[in-house]
Symmetry: C2
Subunit: 77 residues, 2 copies
């Protein structure tokens, strides 16, 4: 596995995190997977150790669970 | 602000996350701050919105709180 995989579910917090991750790591280095739209990939994510979204599966196979400490404004957004 | 800042406190989970972040973003693109050893920088981290460690302050000023969903093995490590 040479790329990271960013799993999300389309929530505003996920999208903000996605923008940050893509700009930090580089678009070519990360595959974006919307688990709400591609539910068939949920088992793969679970097997990789994803417990919540957004999460970044790294090329080394570790899962970084990411959040902003979401504010209510984010959730309302 | 052109670099990201990775705040941590030396715990095993933090160190694992640090390794991943450094390899994903690149060592030259991120400043590592050990808040346990440089407590004088805690107010700066708080002002930036850091609620827990490990956390990554991005060049855009957003804070990504990161964890692995730490296993007991990590905590024991």
């Amino acid at each position: 596995m040479s790329k990271s995989v960013f799993y999300h579910a389309g929530c505003p917090v996920c999208v903000s995190a996605e923008d940050e991750i893509v700009s930090l790591i580089g678009e070519s280095q990360v595959e974006i997977v919307h688990l709400g739209e591609t539910k068939g990939r949920i088992p793969e994510a679970e097997n990789a150790g994803v417990k919540s979204v957004p999460a970044l599966l790294t090329p080394k196979g570790n899962v970084l669970h990411i959040n902003f400490g979401a504010s209510l404004a984010d959730v309302k957004g």
